[in-house]
Symmetry: C2
C-alpha cells in the first residue's frame, strides 16, 4: 500500500471526527477536526479518506444513483491544502433521496457481513432504510428526525431512560402516526406543568420519533432480516423498538462501521 498511515474522516455529523489509521486499524479514539482543516489534520503529502458532505472542505463528489454497491470501484484522489484526499461519493435515489456518509457505514457493514440480504436501517442525522441484495443498495428511503429531536430534547429534563414510557410512546405513533405532533405538545406541556419525571420526556420523545419512523418504513422492516446501524447510545432504543415488533434485528455501532467502510475505501486506492 502506498499510504500505510492515513487519516479516516467522517463529515456526516454536526461535528466531523477523524481517526489516525495504521493500515486497516484505528490508532485510538476519534478526534475532532482541527480548526485548521485538512492541512492541520494530516502531514504534508499525507492521505485523508473521507465520507460525508465535506461541508466547508471541498465540494463533495457527485452522488451515485441506486442500485449501486455502496462504494465505487475506484476512488479519485484530489489535492487540498497539501494533503491527498479521497472522498467517498454518496448515494441518491429518484424519490428524491440522498445519503452522504451512510453509504460508507453500509460498506463497512457489508465488509463484515458480505452475504447480507435484507434491510439495513442507518439511523443518524437522517434515518436511511436501505434494501440490500447481492452486495448492492437496491433502493432506499429516508426520514428526518434529528433536527426535531434536537429542538425538542432541549425542552426536556435529563434523567434515566424509562423503557416502559419509551415503548408506550412508540406504540402510539407506530399504530397512529398522526399523533406524532400532538404527542410532542403533550411532552412539552407535561414539562412546563412540572408533571414530568426527569428522563420521562426524553424517553417518550424517542418513542414517538422511532415509532413514527417504523410506521413510515413498515415495508422495509416487515418480514425480512433487519440490521440497524446507529450510535452506541441509541442502540438500546432501536433494539427495544424492533424487539417490540417481533423483529430480531442485528445492531452495529455507527463509528465502528464508519471506520470499517473507510478502510474498505482505502483498500480500493490500490
Amino acid at each position: 500500500m502506498k499510504y500505510p498511515d492515513w487519516i479516516a474522516l467522517d463529515t456526516d455529523r454536526p461535528e466531523p471526527r477523524a481517526w489516525q489509521m495504521a493500515e486497516d486499524r484505528a490508532q485510538g479514539a476519534a478526534t475532532a477536526l482541527p480548526a485548521g482543516g485538512l492541512g492541520a489534520l494530516a502531514e504534508p503529502g499525507g492521505l485523508v479518506v473521507a465520507c460525508g458532505p465535506l461541508a466547508g472542505i471541498l465540494p463533495a463528489p457527485l452522488p451515485r444513483p441506486v442500485p449501486a454497491a455502496p462504494l465505487p470501484e475506484a476512488l479519485p484522489l484530489a489535492e487540498h491544502q497539501g494533503v491527498t484526499l479521497a472522498a467517498v461519493p454518496g448515494l441518491s435515489a429518484g424519490t428524491p433521496a440522498l445519503m452522504t456518509g451512510a453509504e460508507t457505514r453500509l460498506a463497512g457493514f457489508l465488509a463484515l457481513n458480505p452475504g447480507w440480504d435484507g434491510a439495513v436501517c442507518l439511523a443518524g442525522e437522517e434515518t436511511h432504510w436501505v434494501q440490500v441484495s447481492a452486495g448492492e443498495a437496491v433502493s432506499f428511503q429516508s426520514s428526518l428526525i434529528a433536527p426535531l429531536r434536537r429542538a425538542m430534547a432541549a425542552e426536556t429534563a435529563p434523567g434515566p431512560w424509562d423503557e416502559g414510557l419509551f415503548l408506550e410512546a412508540l406504540d402510539r405513533t407506530r399504530s397512529r402516526p398522526e399523533t406524532l405532533m400532538s404527542g410532542l405538545a403533550r411532552i412539552r406541556a407535561a414539562e412546563r406543568l412540572g408533571e414530568a419525571a426527569p428522563g420521562a420526556g426524553l424517553s417518550q420523545l424517542d418513542g414517538l420519533l422511532i415509532g413514527a419512523d417504523l410506521a413510515a418504513a413498515k415495508a422495509w422492516w416487515l418480514g425480512q432480516p433487519v440490521a440497524v446501524i446507529t450510535a452506541r447510545e441509541a442502540i438500546p432504543a432501536w433494539s427495544a423498538a424492533f424487539s417490540a415488533q417481533g423483529v430480531p434485528a442485528l445492531a452495529a455501532e455507527e463509528a465502528a462501521m464508519t471506520v470499517a467502510g473507510l478502510v474498505a475505501a482505502w483498500k480500493r486506492l490500490g
Copy 2:
C-alpha cells in the same frame, strides 16, 4: 377607568411584543420588549396587561383547567420594577395540554364573535385546537410544529409561494400522516441535489406540516364551524388548507386578536 393609558404585552412568541394603548385602542404598531424589561417599557406606576409565559419577567400565574372562559372574572395585579402588572393565566387540560397566550387571542376572538359555537384553531408557536361553546373553551388539543418548521426552513431556498406544491404536500400527510418525516427528508434531498426551485421547499414544508396537523385534529374541524387565528403571513396557507377540505373557515389575524383579548382583560380590571 383607572388606567386609560397602558401597555399591552404579548410574551407568547420568541420575541415578545408590546403596544402602547389609549383605552381600548392601540397607538401604532407593536414594538419589541426593551432590554430593560417592564421598567423600560412603562412609566413608573403605569400598567402592563400581559399574556404568555412571561419568561424572564415574572413567574406566570397558574393556568386554569378547562372547561373555562378564556379570561378569569378578575385579574390580580402585581408590582414589578415599579410597574403594575396584570397577567392573564393560561389554560390547561388533563391530556396534559397547556396554552399560555392563545387563551387571550381566543378571548379577543370571542369578544368580536360573542355567539361563536364551534372549533377555533390557534396556529402559532404551537397549534391549539379548541372546542368553543357558550363562551367557554370546553376542551383543547395541541400540536407542536413550530420548532420543526424553524429547523427545516433554514435548509430551504427562499422564493415565491407555490400553492400547487403546498396542496400536494398537504394532501399527502393529511391522507397518510406516516409520510411526514420521509417527506421532510425528500425536501432536504431535493435542496441538496439542486433539484428544488426557490420557494418550492418551503411551500412543501408548510403543506406537510399543516396536513399532518389536520390529520391529527380531524375530529376538531370536521362538520362544524371553524375559525383559524394565525399570523397574517400564514393566513393564506391555512385558508387554502381548509378550503381544500371543503371547510369554509373564518380567518383572523393573531396580532389583532391578541390586542382585542388584552383589551378584554383590561376591562376586567374595573
